[in-house]
């Protein structure tokens, strides 16, 4: 199903927060492309700019402090940064939709889940009455809710976490979007339910040529669902590659460290590896490579300039002076 058409091209995106203490460069020159039907994993530790990147794509950066100050976001041939609020509303929910982390609070407690699925359908599609009901049932069936006729009359508190996240997925998918952004979709679910939901998203993707961005810090999820991976550190993408390359041949020391900190079944260690130190303060990022203070392979060039992105393999890019 993978075509060569780019559905999303983010070029040199810069989203800054203007605070009393100074300018925080939360996203500082992020570029990536996403092909139709492809899944991109956006990986990195907390505070590295993953979520702000995704919020920038749908133009919902927290106001008034946050602002997109530069770059381009080309979605399906159009630059989203040129759109006004009204045009963005048309795009959100219909062509780009989102799943958030916590299914427990992602649904409005005072409406039945059927009404909530129906709302998005009513806003974006010009259909009414019975047809909406039919489509709601169809969506619930699609996300694997048993007995949809009955379940659509339930309130969120009558459902389990996994069910609710499926409902959220049903809402997100109800208008056949071209791009789905899933911000840590399974963090709040237990492991068996995680696997179910991921398989579900994957199935729907193959059926409908949907492109996905999955934001996560769980490399297990990346291995399961992603085609490509972009590793973010301190507001920048430090390495991006196909999912196999990332796991088999990581080139950036940060990616290597991330993979090393995963527990393994086939070897016993007393202490799990962890990356020393904290991510840098984005108010005053260190000059040169931002990972330098925590990096094990620092060389002489590392504190001068930020490393240019270099290609090290097919579709494999890395920003590091010491990449080999």
């Amino acid at each position: 199903m993978k075509s060569t058409r780019n559905i999303l091209e983010v070029k040199d995106l810069q989203t800054h927060f203007f605070t009393r203490r100074g300018v925080i460069k939360a996203v500082d020159g992020v570029s990536f492309t996403l092909r139709e039907g492809e899944t991109l994993g956006l990986v990195g530790e907390s505070g590295c700019g993953k979520t702000i990147t995704s919020l920038s794509i749908i133009r919902l950066v927290p106001k008034p402090a946050g602002r997109i100050v530069g770059g381009e976001i080309i979605f399906d041939g159009e630059d989203l940064l040129d759109k006004d609020e009204r045009e963005m509303r048309e795009i959100r929910g219909k062509r780009i939709s989102m799943i958030l982390q916590d299914p427990m609070t992602s649904l409005n407690p005072v409406f039945t889940v059927g009404e909530q699925v129906a709302e998005s359908i009513r806003i974006h599609q010009k259909i009414k009455g019975r047809q909406v009901d039919e489509q709601v049932k169809e969506m619930l069936r699609l996300v694997g809710i048993p007995a949809p006729e009955m379940r659509m009359r339930n309130y969120p508190h009558q459902m389990s976490g996994g069910m609710r996240q499926r409902i959220v997925a049903a809402i997100a998918l109800s208008c056949q979007p071209q791009l789905l952004i899933a911000d840590e979709p399974t963090t709040a679910l237990d492991v068996t339910i995680q696997a179910q939901l991921l398989r579900l998203l994957k199935d729907i993707q193959t059926q409908s040529n949907l492109s996905m961005i999955v934001i996560t810090h769980d490399l297990g999820i990346v291995a399961k669902v992603c085609d490509r991976v972009a590793v973010m550190y301190a507001g920048r993408i430090v390495e991006s590659a196909g999912v196999r390359d990332i796991f088999n041949n990581p080139r950036h020391p940060y990616t290597q460290a991330l993979l090393q900190s995963l527990p393994k079944l086939d070897s016993t260690v007393d202490r799990l590896y962890s990356i020393e130190g904290q991510p840098p303060d984005l108010l005053n990022p260190p000059p040169g490579c931002r990972f330098r203070p925590r990096c094990g392979k620092v060389g002489d060039r590392c504190d001068g300039y930020y490393p240019e992105q270099v290609q090290v393999g097919e579709g494999h890019y890395v920003s590091c002076w010491q990449h080999d």
Partner: protein, 302 residues
């Protein structure tokens, strides 16, 4: 085929639906405090149909019978169960008809306050920025004005009367609602379901009305029942001071005031409207307390 007939009876849809509605109603009313509910229901009934059931015209007295004591006291008669006022008007009839005034003022004022309060709360909490600043400063101003004194002055300027009174109390009383509900809105604004609604492409008015308002409605209802008593007292106070409901229309506040100069001579003139007022205010507060617990989402499933 007795069996299939039984099944047919079990699936009798209208009966099932009636049962479901009945079950819904009884479960909604579970644990309702009986006395307050009954007292309030009785006074609402008086308010609606009082004029039809009283045996005396509440506005016309017979001076011959003035200050007749209630029936159990020496000199009292069963003609006037609760006695008469200085103009010889039947106390019971006036209290029954007076319920209409107190409750009308109470309900309408609470509706006005609730409406203004929730609109301001939604705008201020959701939009934030200068809208928030303007509305919250306005709230501060209104809250810092001594309620009764300002109401008294305004009433003196625009003149007494039921509708003026409703307007004055309504325009003065919304600030508390706005303040409390705004807090709720701020909390809900950050919730994931509101964020998802934004991502789904809902417009701001739609989010405020469809997504946030239903979630603050519980708080609004509770505030309103608790506020009802305060408003009824305020109306009575203004009527007591002569700037509320003009005579001869019976209002509990002015009735208490009428009896003031006869307190030593005829205690009943002030006492009975006072008791009526006390019962209504107490009942609405107790009902409000019950609602507060009943509408709490944590208790919803019980």
């Amino acid at each position: 085929m007795a069996n299939s007939q039984q099944v047919g009876e079990m699936l009798n849809v209208p009966v099932m639906r009636r049962r479901a509605i009945w079950a819904g109603m009884t479960s909604a009313l579970r644990g309702v405090p009986i006395f307050p509910a009954a007292i309030l229901a009785l006074f609402i009934f008086f308010g609606l149909f009082g004029r039809l059931i009283v045996t005396y015209d509440p506005n016309v007295g017979a001076l011959r019978d003035s200050l007749t004591p209630p029936f159990w006291q020496a000199g009292g008669s069963t003609k006037h169960l609760l006695g008469t006022d200085p103009l010889g008007r039947d106390m019971l009839s006036r209290i029954v008809v007076g319920a209409s005034t107190s409750l009308q003022v109470g309900f309408f004022v609470v509706i006005i306050c609730g409406f203004i309060g929730s609109v301001f709360a939604l705008l201020s909490g959701y939009l934030g920025g200068w809208v928030d600043i303007v509305i919250m400063r306005l709230t501060d101003i209104v809250m810092s004005m001594p309620f009764l004194i300002v109401a008294l002055n305004v009433a003196a300027i625009v003149g007494p009367g039921k509708y003026n009174l409703i307007l004055i109390l309504g325009l003065m009383g919304w600030a508390g609602y706005a303040r409390i509900l705004r807090g709720e809105v701020l909390r809900l604004k950050e919730s994931y379901f509101v964020r998802l609604a934004i991502v789904a492409g809902c417009s701001k008015p739609r989010i405020m009305v469809r997504h946030i308002f239903p979630n603050i409605a519980n708080t609004l209802v509770i505030l309103a029942t608790l506020n009802l008593g305060v408003i009824i007292i305020a109306e009575a106070s203004l009527s007591f001071l002569g700037l509320g409901i003009p005579p001869p229309t019976p209002a509990w506040g002015s009735m208490i005031s009428d009896g003031r100069s006869y307190l030593g001579l005829a205690w009943w003139v002030s006492t009975f409207p006072g008791i009526a007022l006390f019962l209504v205010v107490l009942s609405s507060n107790l009902l409000g307390d019950w609602l507060r617990v009943r509408l709490d989402p944590k208790f919803r499933q019980l």
